[in-house]
């Protein structure tokens, strides 16, 4: 009983640390990637103890240090408890969404089988929707607690956008659940064995696009970032936050990018499946298996999952720096009049196909 708890706690710690590291890395990739896309140099002025040689890595180290050591300015007329609570409510559900995303198959160590998924829940994918619903409060409270009309406007717009696109996300997930016949994410990944043509995107392309769009809108990234638009509402709902609280809001942005990437990789791109890699080793095309030790297989699967997540994160960063921002009414119109009917039609077609094939 105690050992089970310790193993799950270790898995949770590893997952959270990986996510936070990737989020930090994404902050730096965003700055340098945007510089590449916009044909400029980007941030290269940071130096550690006078040693400026590593250039970009200095920026990656200097940014978090800057955030953590900045003074925490709290306006005098705000409600202090809500001001402190809002960034925490924003970041916490985003981080714990990773409890259901499987990053590998079973790991066999010392006679124990450890599933490489932090929590095996009965509700599976619905847990992601739960955390998406709770994440809305961070935005609402952030806007309200700032005691600032522009922040309140940004906060209300942001939360209205989030709950609208939750519906589109839910519909995309329903089609995926219908197709795989299960809500369990690990079972979904196992059903995609056998090469890239067995992955989800071949059978559910519309759901993939729907989930990608709804996911980008949920995390309020460009082109859907009017609630926090840098050129219009200063920083929208997190204008009045500085230092660590700003870091928490900022980090939530990147953590949600990783969530969307992880979800798409799991449901539509085969998760931890490596083409032609089975539990015993590589399957040679002509038959027969090249045997590999179990730990190497597990490592390859985790690496494959990480590569897929990183590629999808890069895709979202490229989308951010390529597309102009939607106006708010265009955004809501796209959500309600575009994505929701498309999602419903997708569910109907999937349902007919599933019943027809049986």
């Amino acid at each position: 009983m105690g050992l089970e708890f310790a193993i799950t706690a270790a898995k949770a710690v590893v997952v959270v640390l990986m996510v936070l590291s990737l989020a930090g890395l994404l902050g730096w990739v965003e700055r340098k990637g945007s510089a590449l896309i916009q044909d400029r140099i980007g941030a290269n002025r940071a130096s550690v103890f006078g040693f400026a040689g590593l250039g970009l890595v200095n920026t990656m180290v200097a940014d978090p240090i800057k955030f953590l050591t900045k003074e925490d300015v709290v306006p005098a007329s705000v409600d202090r408890r809500l001001h402190l609570l809002a960034p925490c409510i924003n970041l916490f559900p985003a981080l714990i969404t990773f409890a259901v995303i499987p990053f590998g198959d079973m790991l066999r160590i010392g006679g124990r089988e450890i599933p490489l998924q932090v929590a095996q829940l009965d509700i599976g994918v619905l847990y992601v929707l739960v955390m998406a619903s709770v994440g809305v409060y961070g935005v609402v409270l952030g806007g309200w607690a700032s005691n600032n009309p522009w922040s309140l406007l940004g906060g209300l717009r942001g939360s209205a956008q989030m709950i609208s696109y939750e519906i589109a996300m839910g519909l995309a997930l329903i089609s995926a659940i219908l197709f795989y016949g299960t809500v369990d994410l690990q079972a979904m990944v196992r059903a995609q064995a056998g090469g890239p043509l067995a992955w989800g995107f071949v059978y559910q392309p519309v759901s993939l696009l729907l989930l990608l769009t709804a996911g980008i809108a949920e995390s309020k990234r460009v082109p859907f970032d009017l609630p926090e638009s840098e050129s219009e509402l200063v920083s929208g709902y997190f204008t009045e936050y500085s230092g660590v609280k700003h870091l928490m809001f900022f980090m939530t942005d990147f953590v949600e990018v990783i969530i969307v990437s992880g979800l798409i990789a799991t449901i539509f791109l085969g998760g931890w499946q490596v083409p032609y890699l089975e539990a015993q080793g590589f399957a040679r095309p002509g038959g027969g298996i090249v045997p590999l030790p179990h730990l190497v297989v597990s490592l390859l699967q985790v690496a494959a999952f990480t590569v897929k997540v990183v590629i999808l994160c890069w895709l979202q960063i490229v989308i951010r720096w390529t597309l102009p921002r939607f106006r708010y009414d265009q955004l809501m119109r796209l959500g309600w009049k575009g994505l929701v009917p498309l999602g419903l039609a997708n569910v109907m077609v999937t349902a007919l196909a599933v019943v027809g094939i049986e």
């Binding site: 509700i123 619905l126 409060y137 609402v140 209300l156 709950i163």
Partner: protein
Amino acid sequence: MALAVFGVLATLLLVGALTVVLHPDSVYSALALIGVMALLAVVFVTLEAHLIAALQIIVYAGAIMVLFLFVIMLIGRPGSGGPFASSRILWAASGLGAGGLAIGVGTMVAKSALAPPEAGRPEFGTTTAVARELFTTYLLPFELTSVLLLIAVVGAVVLAKGRPRA
């Protein structure tokens, strides 16, 4: 162990419920109600109702309470007079009534001895079990609730839009 968890949850739930009812600031009341709903989801998980716990947070804590917060933030400005009704008789009567209700139910439960819970099928509480009941035995109420939701959407839009400025 399960009893200790239940004790902690019950205490937190009652504290949250009293905050909802007694706190003068309506934003804090709403936050306390969100806390109560989240704690109820935890209680549902201890009762093995996993799907209902997830739906409690998605529907109640994640959508309905957001609607409440929107309305409070847009129009919930405090006005004249305190947050509570001023009549002492009303306080006494409601206190007696509510207390009487709780005590009455308590004594009724204490007097009746319930058998230990029957073990349901192994998939009790999962999506499959609820869906099976919902789409076979309770299909008609399900369709009627969809009509009800449509009526509610139309009604809410008509009422909240107000008269178009001429």
